[in-house]
């Protein structure tokens, strides 16, 4: 349905996106995962025709959209990372304005506004000025505005940044429902891997302008099929223990997160007796040792050597 072919975007000397290839099929939810500054927003801007790539092509139903993006624009709805709303206008006035921009009018527009407000749970607040809304309500309205013209593809750029867990769940459920009930195609970018894991059928992982992995959740996790992720827990760590772990050649990756240390080690190696020995030697009391399910976070850590939110 929609393809990015060998896309590169250069800003002076910096390459924000490097030779990126990506496709989105009708009716699927595709996740674009990566830390801040990975190039996700640039890729989205190119995909939605806001930005012209330095090289490469964007194809919608096999037609190039670089020079004539009109047909793509008609079926795309974009939810920017920022709250792209008029804060001094009410929810309904915002919807009317953007609805008219999408050339909806009269009864059609009126009905559509009511329908979307219902979907995003803001019917009761339709007359209220946006600046009086909570962060979560603004985010929901931000999504609602993008849905007014019934887009086939919804591009969501980190739509849950800076909101409470309740609103976040509401948004995730809304996206799931839109995809299920209306077969809406969704491109969802985030640096929250649990959101992407929950929502997406296929995932692209970006870092420093490069696509470093792509596939279904399981395919991506297969990258770590030959390795185990082990979690160690203790009341406190000491420098000697951490240094010993870092210097151990059998440990491929290591992340210290408060009372927990996550290690990625080869499946072929029995590391447990070694860990017990190192702990005893450094006088560290281990409280728990678990073999964890591989997560996308682990894959990202494995591929880039750093955490998604670093």
């Amino acid at each position: 349905m929609l393809e990015l072919i060998d896309i590169t975007k250069k800003y002076k000397q910096t390459k924000a996106v490097k030779n990126m290839n990506m496709y989105i099929e009708k009716g699927e939810i595709v996740g674009l995962l990566g830390p801040n500054g990975a190039g996700k927003s640039t890729a989205i801007s190119i995909l939605s025709s806001l930005l012209e790539p330095t090289s490469g092509d964007v194809k919608f139903e096999n037609k190039s959209m670089i020079k004539n993006p009109k047909s793509l624009r008609q079926i795309v709805g974009i939810v920017p990372q920022e709250i792209a709303l008029y804060e001094d206008l009410s929810a309904e006035e915002n919807m009317k304005f953007f609805g008219r921009i999408y050339r909806l009018k009269g009864k059609t527009l009126k009905n559509k506004i009511s329908e979307v407000l219902e979907q995003i749970g803001l019917t009761d607040r339709r007359k209220d000025i946006v600046k009086t809304f909570s962060g979560g309500m603004k985010r929901r309205l931000n999504i609602g505005v993008a849905m007014l013209h019934d887009p086939e593809i919804l591009i969501m750029d980190e739509p849950t940044v800076g909101i409470d867990p309740q609103s976040r769940n509401y948004i995730l459920q809304t996206v799931k429902r839109l995809n299920k009930d209306r077969q809406m195609t969704v491109l969802y970018t985030s640096h929250y891997m649990e959101e992407v894991e929950y929502l997406c059928d296929r995932i692209y992982i970006m870092d420093k302008g490069n696509l470093i992995a792509s596939g279904t959740k399981d395919e991506i996790k297969q990258i770590l099929a030959s390795e185990n992720t082990i979690s160690l827990k203790a009341d406190h760590w000491n420098e000697r223990f951490i240094t010993n772990l870092r210097e151990n050649p059998q440990i491929h990756q290591m992340k210290v997160d408060g009372n927990e240390i996550v290690l990625v080690v080869s499946k072929d190696v029995n590391i447990f007796s070694k860990l017990a020995h190192l702990a005893e030697e450094a006088n560290v009391q281990l409280r728990a040792v678990d073999v964890k399910q591989v997560t996308l976070e682990d894959v990202f850590l494995h591929l880039t050597g750093r955490a998604l939110r670093d």
């Binding site: 012209e52 920017p80 990372q81 792209a84 008029y86 953007f98 993008a146």
Partner: protein, 420 residues
């Protein structure tokens, strides 16, 4: 869709009373302050400039003239010449003539002249009631006569003192003395070259009559002047306000939303143009209506006034488009801040919003090359009773400015969304 943009802008203004207060309230406050503070200077009302002057002669003039005539006799001039020069010297009496000038009808109401002795000088200097003191040094008149009648080399000087805080009085006396000296010098020059001073006076009168013909038109009151001055200045802020709103649309990605909705960028900046034009119109109208009721500013020819307003608000629209385009291109609000903080002040100064720059002066000519200055000249001219036909050059300039700003704006507009 343009209507939606105007409606949206209207709602935004409506919900920002501080913005409305700044755009409409500020010019009204400024008109009131400036109209009252500087009103007397423009309206020709009475400004109290009366001051006291002490006149001190260090030597009696009659005695000096007598000595001068006596000394003539000791030279080798023929008797007839001595008699003629003595007669002229007695009639010239420079200090007496200067006193006559000070006691003339024109200066009598302004300057209170008191003659004093040289020994009183220190006491007078300490007395704050005297604004200025003029000292005629010893042998002053004799030196003047020798200079004029015998081509002497002495160049006698009058000493002027003025007290701190009496700079205006000091300046006036300085000018009177200078004029007086020039008259004497001119008289001597004409006499030496055989030119009739009467002939020169006649030419001067004719020239003065020609200059005074400008005052045949209706006078413009200070409040009317500042109503126009403040409106043409403050309406420029509408361009920056609209450009600021547009830049916020860009920053919050609303503009991107519009581009993705395939909203033409041409339509977008026509919306910016019309927003600035319409709201500048409303802003100007509010202030004019207020000025009509509060300050009796009445337009003798309403259609002409409306035509000038149309042209000027079109220029404001053009400026809004230009500022929006540049801020979009540079991805910075700096140009808007610079325009509202610096350029508007310079334009207002040149355009004559703060004080009248004088008909035909360099400053006024320069001011006519600003949109507000050209509009101000046109408004003032209409208020004085002239017609739109007398202001075609101003209107042509404003229209060219508006079109130029729009064209530059269009050229510098980003082709795609804000992301580019």
């Amino acid at each position: 869709m343009i209507f939606q943009m105007i409606k949206k802008q209207f709602l935004q203004f409506l919900r920002n009373p501080v913005e409305i207060l700044l755009l409409i309230g500020l010019p009204i406050i400024l008109i009131t302050i400036l109209g009252n503070a500087l009103g007397n200077l423009i309206d020709g009302g009475e400004v109290d400039l009366t001051f006291k002057l002490a006149l001190i002669e260090h030597e009696d003039e009659a005695l000096q003239v007598e000595n001068f005539v006596t000394e003539l006799g000791s030279g080798d001039l023929p008797d007839e010449v001595i008699t003629e020069i003595a007669a002229i010297a007695e009639s010239l009496a420079p200090i007496e003539t200067f006193k006559e000038v000070l006691h003339s009808e024109e200066l009598n109401d302004m300057i209170i002249v008191e003659e004093a002795y040289a020994r009183e000088l220190d006491a007078i200097k300490a007395d704050d009631s005297y604004a200025t003191i003029i000292e005629f040094p010893k042998n002053f008149s004799a030196d003047v006569l020798e200079n004029i009648l015998l081509d002497g080399e002495m160049n006698p000087e009058v000493i002027i003192h003025y007290k701190a805080g009496s700079e205006i009085a000091g300046n006036i006396i300085q000018q009177i003395v200078t004029m007086y000296q020039e008259e004497y010098t001119l008289g001597t020059f004409l006499g030496n070259n055989g030119i009739d001073p009467q002939q020169l006076q006649k030419m001067g009168t004719e020239s003065k009559q020609e200059v005074s013909s400008a005052s045949l038109h209706e006078p413009v009151s200070a409040k009317a002047y500042y109503t126009i001055g403040m409106i043409v200045m403050n309406v420029l802020f509408m361009a920056t306000t609209i450009a600021q709103y547009a830049f916020r649309e860009r920053q919050s990605h609303i503009f991107n939303r519009m581009i993705i909705a395939d909203f033409s960028r041409w339509v977008y900046f026509i919306g910016i143009l019309l927003n600035a034009l319409i709201f500048a119109w409303i802003q100007a109208l509010f202030v004019y209506i207020f000025a009509y009721f509060a300050f009796d500013v009445i337009w003798p020819n309403l259609p002409d006034f409306l035509i000038v307003t149309c042209f000027f608000t079109l220029a404001v629209g053009g400026l809004a488009v230009l500022l929006t385009a540049i801020s979009f291109r540079s991805n910075s609000e700096q140009i808007i801040s610079f325009f509202s903080g610096v350029v508007v002040t310079i334009f207002a100064f040149l355009g004559g919003s703060f004080f009248p720059s004088g008909t035909g002066s360099f400053l006024q000519k320069l001011g006519d090359y600003t949109p507000n200055g050209a509009a101000m000249s046109a408004y003032l001219s209409i208020l004085r009773g002239e017609t739109i036909a007398d202001n075609i050059d101003h209107l042509v300039f404003i229209a060219c400015f508006a079109i130029g700003a729009i064209i530059i704006g269009v050229i510098s507009y980003p082709k795609r969304g804000a992301a580019s």
